[in-house]
Subunit: 205 residues, 2 copies
DNA sequence: GACTTTATTGTCAACTCGCTACTAATTAGG
DNA sequence: CCTAATTAGTAGCGAGTTGACAATAAAGTC
């Protein structure tokens, strides 16, 4: 008789460290930890509730955002995997460390989670939650570039962003050593204009 | 001691019936069946493998497309739910029937599955798999309209579709009673032009 | 002060998209 | 036949979007 392990609920928690994407991993003696923060799912428990409890216990607060990536097979385990976001500068809890995500994503799980964030970038405030309450437009563009894995045009990015009225300027400016200081903005979405746009076919195949 | 039920792997299978979206439900004496086609997930089994086996056994062939919607709570069960597609005109297997999907989707599960299809409409050939090997452009537009739940402009739809080179005309035409006969096309995606486009902010909030 | 660096704004040409209007081919009904 | 109705497909305009480039602004470095 083989034991039947219950599925796990696993947490892939992202933040920004030194302007780059990082994931929260349990710290082990070896350089590569083997498993994500997780908990066994008991009968009758809703994964959303369990992951929120795990996140609060681990992080000692709620993440700025979270979403279900899906049920992924990882080794011998079935993980119901969630992606979560902590704002830039959050410190790692005891026994854990931020691990930089390489270009193109590392493990299959990380790649799936990053894809999940990327797919929601234009419908949910994923990029904004990775930043603090105020940020420069260059900061924001950098987050979009990291998650989309491509460069964006500075002028077009700003024009489109401001036209959509999802940020508002503060009267604070940030000077970062060299160059002109940048104005700080805050996330402040206006009512959405239901500007449904055209269907795209170019990515099919 | 409470029994610990294993999670189920469940199948939400879509097709077109009389030009409208329909899902495959087990036929019961009462009008509303209570559960999707499903199977218990055993320890060590990969959900993708299990759902493919279930689909082949149920449908007696592979679906034209399938993707994981996610882990959904349905009543007392945890379902790892997949959406699958059969081409228009497929007959329901014994003991099952096609049930029309109302505008805006019916149950939470159906709505989640339809959203899953809609979100992948511009990256995977979901709409084409709902149709047979050849189809008219009006057929295709109708599928897009159903999945997007909004009307599209005929001229714009055709222009964009043809410019993307994802279909090619056949030399066959279909006459459907009234009106001018329509040319039949087949799905034939060309190499994708990596025409990355601008970021959108209008849907945030 | 001259140069470098980063932020921000302006402008223009090309492209996209929704819209209206038109043409084409078929059936239905006199 | 002849006309109306119906569905398929095309042409072109105007508004809006976008990428590229240029210009200006404000800081630091030497």
């Amino acid at each position: 008789m083989v034991a039947r392990p219950a599925p796990q609920v696993a947490l892939v928690c992202f933040s920004l460290v030194d302007g780059g994407l990082a994931v929260l991993m349990p710290a082990t003696a070896s350089s590569r930890a083997t498993s994500w923060p997780h908990v066994q799912l008991q009968a009758g428990e809703a994964p959303d509730v369990v992951i929120d409890a795990l996140a609060r216990k681990l992080l000692e607060r709620s993440p700025a955002w979270r979403g279900q990536v899906g049920a992924l097979v990882e080794g011998a385990h079935l993980n119901i995997t969630y992606a979560a976001i902590l704002p830039a500068g959050s410190t790692a809890p005891r026994g854990h460390a931020w691990q930089t995500v390489p270009r193109g994503g590392g493990s299959a799980t990380v790649r799936a989670a990053v894809s999940h964030l990327r797919d929601r970038l234009d419908r949910e405030p994923v990029a904004f939650r990775l930043l603090g309450p105020t940020f420069t437009l260059s900061d924001l563009q950098s987050v979009y570039e990291i998650l989309l894995e491509r460069r964006l045009h500075k002028a077009s990015f700003r024009r489109t962003l401001l036209a959509a009225h999802v940020v508002e300027p503060t009267d604070a400016w940030r000077s970062e050593g060299r160059g002109r200081p940048a104005q700080l903005f805050r996330f402040s979405p206006r009512r959405r204009r239901g500007v449904q746009r055209a269907v795209r076919f170019e990515l099919l195949g």
